[in-house]
Symmetry: C3
Subunit: 357 residues, 3 copies
Amino acid sequence: MQTAVVTFTLAELAEQHGLTLRGDPHTVISGVCALLPGQAGKLSFCGESRLRSQLSLTQAAAVILAAREADQYDGNALIAAEPALAFAKIAQGFDRSKEFTAGIDSRAAVAASAVLGEGCGIGPGAVIEADAVIGAGSYIGPNCVVRRGARIGARSRLEANVYIGPDCELGARALVLPGAVVGGRGFGLVPSASGWIEMPQLGRVIVGDDVEIGAQTSIDRGALDDTVIEDGVKLDNQIQIAHNCRIGAHTAIAACVGIAGSTRIGSRCMIGGATVIAGHITIADNVMLLGMAMVTKSIAVAGVYGSGLPAMPARDWRKQVARVRRLDRVDERLQSIEETLRLTPQTGEGNGEQDDF
Amino acid sequence: MQTAVVTFTLAELAEQHGLTLRGDPHTVISGVCALLPGQAGKLSFCGESRLRSQLSLTQAAAVILAAREADQYDGNALIAAEPALAFAKIAQGFDRSKEFTAGIDSRAAVAASAVLGEGCGIGPGAVIEADAVIGAGSYIGPNCVVRRGARIGARSRLEANVYIGPDCELGARALVLPGAVVGGRGFGLVPSASGWIEMPQLGRVIVGDDVEIGAQTSIDRGALDDTVIEDGVKLDNQIQIAHNCRIGAHTAIAACVGIAGSTRIGSRCMIGGATVIAGHITIADNVMLLGMAMVTKSIAVAGVYGSGLPAMPARDWRKQVARVRRLDRVDERLQSIEETLRLTPQTGEGNGEQDDF
Amino acid sequence: MQTAVVTFTLAELAEQHGLTLRGDPHTVISGVCALLPGQAGKLSFCGESRLRSQLSLTQAAAVILAAREADQYDGNALIAAEPALAFAKIAQGFDRSKEFTAGIDSRAAVAASAVLGEGCGIGPGAVIEADAVIGAGSYIGPNCVVRRGARIGARSRLEANVYIGPDCELGARALVLPGAVVGGRGFGLVPSASGWIEMPQLGRVIVGDDVEIGAQTSIDRGALDDTVIEDGVKLDNQIQIAHNCRIGAHTAIAACVGIAGSTRIGSRCMIGGATVIAGHITIADNVMLLGMAMVTKSIAVAGVYGSGLPAMPARDWRKQVARVRRLDRVDERLQSIEETLRLTPQTGEGNGEQDDF
């Protein structure tokens, strides 16, 4: 879609976003840019004090910054309590990426019983099955599949090649990136003499409002109950959420995380990339998991958790592995020395058996 | 598709599945439900003794349970040797999710030379290329791509947005979830003075009967020989299986597992989520790998294997990493003490060099 | 597409590829095969000395081998300085997998303002939006989506179900496997009192020439600047590259790798499968990372790096974890012994605090 360039004056932006203007109010802003090198006619921001040395070098037309940085910069500025937040909101005004033309493309397949709200845009190749409901102002991009009975809230966006399973529900303002699968079959199997028997997965996925679901992320439908993603959850790419999980409100999960079945994650958690979380456990509210953590047990107390041994030169790594494998000998040697010295032995091998992870 | 609600009496279910009925044989069952809270008119099950305390609380119309639990519950019951298995089979009778209307959607692209068995359903946007063969009663969902010469067995289901590469073969009753890629190019490269040169990947993927392939799982075609997935293998979501692997019959692999090229996994293995398996190794039959394991060498003996350091508070984790890095000093200190005490030193640093992983 | 079988004589192959022929120059070669068992009429290769014992067993019509292996085999042969490289180039001549029929399928949706070079093939269900540019001889497979303003270089191939975001650019001879997503929204969020606020992602993805992008791999668009993939980079399946990363020329990355935002990887690196790389760090040229490594800090020196504890029987693993957790006690016990012996304590607990990863 061809769209005219949007511009604002610095004064308009200050007023719209409740910021303090310093400098020329007539400065015309036609977009946003990084602080370095910065671009003429565009607005940048200084979100962290450690970037303040870049302020003198930027070619941006104006900068959003905190009051504490204001004396470091004598150009046009918008003073904000939270510069990154102010910048994000202003940048959204220049973001054309969610615009679409309302209407149903002739190559889409929309069932007669599907209900489309006002102003929806349905792209070529999109499939909307019987009894599905699409909220007003939503965009269902090319080659997306919305199965029968699924419900998408108002002003949502399914970018392209997205799959929404039967009877699953997404709230308002959902943003679902290409290739995401919401409501695929959970991995439910029962052993039998003739091999694995499928346990039907009859639950749904229920997604709250303002949820982002990244590219190629998959969220399985529940077995009998539902898998639930609460309001404001933000999921990056290539995340796997198994059946019957519940992710608490405003939790953000970075890419490549895997969460096994029936696990409950609290609200306002932050989960680092590639972390793996076992099934049937509970993570409290406000837990931060560092990247690549291996979470095998419930976490009851808010705080920061991590695991793993960071990389090192391979030769050193091989020695490290060998040393860890020889820790039983360290125990033995310590005991032998302690016995020689008639010291009281402190910790013996046997305790290892009692670990309950 | 609008379908009438299916119901059975408890007596009918008992007879169809060879179970012992206790209670009112005329009880009408219109679906299945979880044990708690349970739903009127629906059937649940008690699969494990640890759930027996829930029996008195369920609102289900009837429960499948083992004989040993029968005295814990005085409601309507079906007594089964394996309650979960009986429940899975009965639940399949209530599962409408695999129903489809036979016929070729007008928006599908089916080559003239493709052969479709009786009763197939081909969804909108599906592409079936020249010489492909689709077995009777199979469903090829919206926007799936079946390349030239590929063969899909009878009563299979490709849910949506699935890719099957040229000349690849799937057996009967395959279930392939959205976004799966079977028969993409293997990652074969040869270094040259001008950069990487592509090694053509001329093998196929051959998949046996009764195989499930999860959402966004990818199985690469072989370089010269084929990649093989044997009968009854169950693959969860986001699994990566590289070229020339062979996965033995009835092996189940949880989500996010990666298996590098030319590795052979035995039959009836169970592989936990996010485990990573090196290339060119062999895993015996009946091996269970715990989640997030790092498998760098062949495993010749059936059993349970695992690795990794579980997460802990970040402050403790940092200390743990530091201590592991100082293990060389532990060795030195032990040797120094042993020398002082004229004890025979037991294990020296040098041994680490000999580890062959 | 039905294509006649291609054949070459051994003499033709020797001449075309500058190899030394030994044996019958009239031998007809109709394809390539593995060394064992080998196939009549086909050409194989012996790429490594450890395979030389297989030479006497092969049924291949001819074998490419190094001069040092030539006396191990008395059949028809092509002598090459780099047998695998010669084989790859010859095998490409037998590879029909990239052939397509030029033209736009009637089920594709190509915008009037899109520019298609000569000889392009656009598959059914493909969507090419306004102002997109597709280079000559490129193939855009079924159900691919090329957003407005995106540019694809000449002789590129988007296999199927691929997504290219708005204004993103791919160079010449790109190969993009099914389900890949190039230019999805980066995971940019700013906290606010009412939850996470989206930071618009206004950068692009810029991909050089001769780049391969694997199945279900995702490369996020930059926040303000671009994400850059340089010439000759080879990406396997299910890789995640976050916003603002730069991957140096001719770097090869195996499957399931995750790279967090703003990280720079050097040229000619080789990154093993399932390795995870933190954000905002720099990896030098010619670094090799072993599989499943956890990279939390910049690597300034070329070389081989790794991390992780390989799998072992679960019983041993549990003991290993327990021993690592007891390393604080080892420190205490060593100190106690050293004090008893009046040895100078060497490394204390406190040092752990200073680690800066």
